[in-house]
Symmetry: C2
Subunit: 285 residues, 2 copies
């Protein structure tokens, strides 16, 4: 009787790839990890069946997945979005890139969506990391002792409007708003770097809020926004009063630790529904 | 016979306030400058009829303008957008703030447009700096020896789409795009800081382009985007290949020097029409 085969884990950085592996194995499933060179934590992967490969070595990646009888795949952990120049594709990679098309390189999600599509055409099934690690998904509602006050609610509304506008042109997923002023907007530098920079332009008075959302139309199997304890550290250092994210649409890598750090610093963590948020609270502009 | 009175110049930072004063005086008109404390160049203003006042001292500002018989006003030179907290309005300022309304503080242009409206209600007439200093407005078309190649044209198209989306939610006026990837997006940190930060996230291969536009609906009398030699220095240091801006809608503070610096570094300067750009070239995404 054929088994489901090993779960293939395409591993970028951070702690999640190994946690997905642990959860799958705890559920009785074998795993095989492909760590992307320069991103995956090679030390953490050492105890698992794995291979380290370049992102551009697509032929070797597909061959390894087939040799290990992987049909189901999880893409998890951040990878710096490559340019066509530094991808250095292998022979199979060149063919796959032709199928992905240059246009996919003009935005973040275009590329990931195209990768998921090509993997599907190659006979694989892409599963969201949150389908394996169900407890990492952010809940809706207030997670911390303190919640947003009236000004913070208004700032969240403005942030939701800004991030939606950015998402519509496939840029960034986050911004920082203080007293109605947008202090910083995310491009590809990463959320924590964006938070850190908002400190230098912050105004006196009540601090800002981080708003981080899933892009409209984003393939949730490939690239859910992720926040972790380092986000709370960055937010605290930048004088923010809290963070708002999509309830059920954000990966919290170490949820209990995040809540503990936020409570210690007096920050709020709030899971919102961006679709209804604007309707019920009304944006301030 | 009543004269036109002195031209009132509400002066933020940079070299333009004094250049507006010189141009007005050369045209036979007296001037009176109000330098905003912390922004205006007090040394440069010293040779002119002037007073230094806090932004929030609106009562004193209006009284000074009336005492000097100023009816026409020019707002020129950058001022860091104040929060309600650090404005510290005087008694008249409190009344004026009530007329401006809190909502105006939720976006950059809302505030400036409201200030222009209130000045109009007070009997003043606000004139664009470019109406006095006609030669500082950017021309349309290529200003430098080199122009954008095909990739740079595609990057400009992507940048136009991104800045338009940002402008629709009243945030920033600029972004940097390299090979279709949006490296950085401007919030309130200023264009030069945004350019500088794009260096750390740049990809190998052909460098990026800066796109800077007037926001849709922006009051051109109050806040045209301004670029100067420091922009060319920042772009060169960040490895950019050129800058694109709105032809006829951007202030170039030292045009000849900018073109000279750009030509020395091999950068292009291109005045575009963002309204027709997307139609004729087509965005890449």
């Amino acid at each position: 009787m054929p088994t489901a085969g090993a779960l293939g884990i395409l591993a970028g950085g951070g702690p999640l790839p190994v946690r997905v592996a642990e959860a799958a194995r705890a559920g009785g499933r074998e795993v095989f990890l492909i760590g992307f060179e320069g991103y995956a934590n090679a030390v953490a992967l050492a105890g698992w069946p794995h291979v380290l490969l370049r992102l551009g070595a697509m032929g070797s990646i597909l061959a390894a997945l087939r040799a290990q009888n992987c049909r189901d795949l999880v893409l998890v952990g951040p990878v710096r979005r490559p340019s066509l120049f530094d991808l250095r594709p292998d022979a199979e990679g060149v063919k796959i890139l032709a199928r992905i098309g240059r246009a996919a390189f003009a935005g973040d999600d275009g590329l990931l969506a195209a990768v998921v599509r090509v993997l599907g055409e190659e006979g694989f099934r892409v599963i969201g990391a949150h389908e394996i690690l169900t407890e990492i998904l952010s809940p809706p509602g207030q997670m911390t002792r303190v919640g947003p006050d009236r000004q913070a609610m208004a700032d969240i509304s403005r942030g939701v409007a800004v991030v939606k506008a950015l998402g519509a042109v496939d840029v960034g997923q986050a911004c920082v708003v203080q007293q109605g002023i947008v202090l910083s907007v995310e491009a590809i530098e990463g959320t924590d770097a964006m938070i850190a920079r908002s400190r230098a332009v912050a105004r006196p008075g009540p601090g800002g809020v981080l708003v981080k959302l899933v892009k409209p139309g984003q393939d949730r199997r490939a690239d859910l926004p992720a926040l972790g304890p380092q986000t709370i550290h960055a937010a605290t250092a930048a004088g923010l009063r809290g963070i708002a994210f999509e309830g059920g649409g954000t990966i919290l890598t170490e949820r209990d630790k995040m809540v503990q750090l936020a409570d210690e610093a007096g920050l709020f963590m709030l899971g919102i529904d961006p679709l209804t948020w604007g309707e019920t609270e009304g944006p301030t502009t």
